[in-house]
């Protein structure tokens, strides 16, 4: 298996975090996942601020971003990072329960790279997460400046 690149999971629901990690774990993609609980934390991580001041330099290979979160939601976080030249190139995948057309349109207008509705059926959910993980953290060639896991 090729190297797994870093994934940032922005998600406020403990249950979703657990299920997502479980799904990624099933395919051994969970090791390089950084979990943050809302948009503010996600930006802290990306800008290496607050709790993440000491993290090594480098952008993740992909950000899995939920929409509805406390403090700062997914769309706002997306707007901020897509308008920053240093962060704009990081692939962002919206992962959400909502299939509202409004959200889909807004997300793509802000420059999201993919939009995935989390399936209710666990098997489908696992399949979706696996596909995402494999594609973005393994297959996809991230832009320069991304952190590589030390092999």
């Amino acid at each position: 298996m090729s190297e797994v690149k870093r994934i940032v999971l922005v998600e406020d629901s403990e249950n979703d975090i657990e299920l997502t990690l479980a799904a990624l774990e099933e395919h051994h993609l969970a090791n390089e996942v950084v979990v943050v609980r809302d948009g503010v934390e996600a930006l802290d991580y990306l800008y290496r601020r607050g709790a993440f001041q000491t993290r090594p330099i480098g952008n993740p290979a992909v950000i899995l971003l939920d929409l509805k979160m406390p403090r700062m939601g997914g769309l706002e976080a997306l707007r901020t990072l897509k308008s920053d030249a240093t962060l704009r190139t990081i692939p962002v995948v919206i992962m959400t329960s909502s299939s509202e057309e409004r959200d889909v349109v807004d997300s793509y207008n802000l420059g999201v790279n993919a939009y995935v509705v989390k399936p209710v059926k666990f098997q489908s959910f696992v399949e979706a997460v696996r596909t995402l993980g494999l594609f973005w953290a393994v297959l996809n060639q991230p832009p320069p400046g991304s952190v590589r896991r030390v092999a």
Binding site: L67, K68, T96, S98, S99, E100, V120, K121, F125
Partner: protein, 489 residues
């Protein structure tokens, strides 16, 4: 008459008075002239008759004594009357006895023509009066006097009469024309004003103008009535406008309310979409994980977990369907011309995975062009086709027919008929209800939202949906679409 009818009121009034006075004058003139003619002639005849009598009396002795010279001398006395052109004296046996005249030859011929059996006659011919009188003597007739006189006097008198009359007629007509064209203004002007006002009202819809003319006659009554009518209309228009404004305001208020409700509804469906699905997903997810991680679980436990997963999955499906249904009611309709035939073709291609391995006898009639929202109508066809496919799933030889039941100027009715499970007509009213099902889920899959969607879409197009069916014999679903799409609700 047609010309008169087309003439303006002004010209009609002038024409009427001129024609009236002209006709009266003509009649009077004709009567007077005729009377003149007759009396003049009679007077002439009387005078000539007297002359003939005198001449006859004077010439009687000459006739008796056969003295033509004396008779001619008597006749010559007629010279005093210039109207007498010729005169002749005839014996009893109609022999010319003596003659006088400025034109004796012509006179002689005229005189001899008038010698008839009845002696005392007169006739008028060629501008001449020829009059004969017998000469009596002692109870017997001894000869005849014939006088030819000129009618010039009568003719010239007639001519004078006619000339005078024509002049009077001409002057009267001119006077009548003058007077009537002066007076007609009094009648026609208010009518013209009224017509002008009426035209302005009808063209400019300006009900504030008023016709002028305060008078006591019928035209005045007309003008007053017209003005009253205008006031009435204006008042009613004002009321109508006020009512309209109130209505507009109410509509605006309702719209605001509706928008608020719609917003709430949107927020609600958004939170349903987002917040309700998340816990469902968690239930399903953890149930699966429990199933996978607990090896010590017995069959009963596994069955429970399976039920939990299934129920969660089904609820997810219900939520999705409900969201689609609510969106279908809110999203804007885009009316275009839709080729139902090609739309059906697309739907059938899409249904291919569902009919795989099935033998279905399709009977598709040509479908017409309709106007409506393409995506919505596609959903209608897709729902009806998938229903037909689903409910024929247990039939040995499935047959599905799609065609036109009725096509009029007003609407077109499409039907989808199958020979599948059918339904009991007692429950037909429940068919199109949200989440209403006539079959158990373990018989035929589904959430019961499909036909509700069909009805909602067709209703929004201004059409109707209905169905006929018989348990075990199949069902026919109909929907109608108006030929002219009204403003969609």
């Amino acid at each position: 008459m047609a010309l008169f009818r087309q003439a303006s009121v002004k010209n009609k009034l002038i024409l009427t008075s001129v024609l009236g006075s002209g006709t009266a004058l003509l009649l009077v003139g004709a009567v007077i002239t005729s009377y003149d003619l007759v009396s003049l002639r009679n007077a002439l005849v009387r005078r000539m008759s007297v002359q003939a009598g005198i001449v006859g009396a004077n010439a009687a002795s000459a006739l008796l004594f056969n003295d033509p010279e004396s008779a001619e001398a008597t006749l010559a006395a007629l010279k005093g009357d210039p109207r007498i052109l010729a005169a002749g004296l005839y014996t009893e046996d109609r022999r010319l006895f003596a003659i006088y005249g400025s034109e004796p030859l012509n006179g002689k011929r005229l005189m001899e023509e008038s010698l008839s059996d009845t002696r005392d006659v007169h006739r008028m011919r060629g501008g001449r009066l020829v009059l004969s009188r017998s000469i009596p003597f002692e109870q017997r007739t001894i000869g005849t006097v014939v006088i030819v006189s000129d009618l010039q006097e009568v003719t010239s008198s007639m001519t004078r009469d006619v000339v005078i009359f024509a002049s009077v007629l001409l002057i009267s007509l001119l006077l009548a024309l003058f007077i009537s064209s002066r007076l007609q203004r009094d009648i026609s002007q208010p009518i013209l004003d009224l017509a002008q006002t009426a035209r302005r009202v009808s063209q400019e819809k300006d009900y504030s103008v008023r016709a002028s003319g305060e008078r006591r006659d019928e035209i005045g009554t007309l003008v007053t009535a017209f003005n009253e009518m205008l006031s009435e209309i204006r008042q009613q228009e004002g009321e109508l406008r006020a009512a309209h404004d109130r209505l507009e305001q109410r509509v605006a208020e309702r719209t605001v309310q509706l928008q608020a409700v719609n917003k709430e509804l949107e927020a609600f469906s958004y939170s349903v979409s987002h917040d309700l699905r998340a816990p469902l997903r968690h239930i399903a997810g953890f149930a699966e994980m429990l199933d996978a991680s607990c090896e010590g679980l017995n069959d009963g436990g596994r069955r429970c977990i399976q039920k939990i997963s299934q129920a969660a999955g089904r609820m997810g499906q219900l939520i999705d369907d409900l969201l689609i249904f609510s969106r279908m009611g809110r999203s804007e309709m885009q009316a275009v011309t839709v080729n139902l035939a090609s739309l059906l073709k697309e739907v059938l291609v899409e249904a291919q995975p569902d009919v795989k391995g099935r033998v279905i006898d399709w009977k598709i009639e040509p479908l017409p062009m309709v106007s409506g929202d393409r995506a919505m109508l596609r959903l209608v066809l897709a729902n009806l086709v998938s229903n037909a496919v689903k409910y024929t799933g247990k039939s040995a030889s499935a047959r599905i027919e799609i065609g036109v039941a009725q096509d009029t100027d007003r609407e077109v009715v499409i039907f989808v008929r199958d020979n599948g499970a059918g339904f009991d007509m007692t429950y037909a009213s429940k068919l199109f209800g949200v989440f209403q099902r006539l079959h158990r889920a373990d018989e035929f899959e589904g959430t019961g939202i499909g036909l509700a969607n069909v009805q909602r879409i067709i209703n929004r197009h201004g059409g109707r949906t209905w169905a006929e069916g018989e348990l075990g014999r199949g069902a026919v679903f109909y929907f109608s679409l108006p030929r002219r799409l009204e403003a969609a609700a």
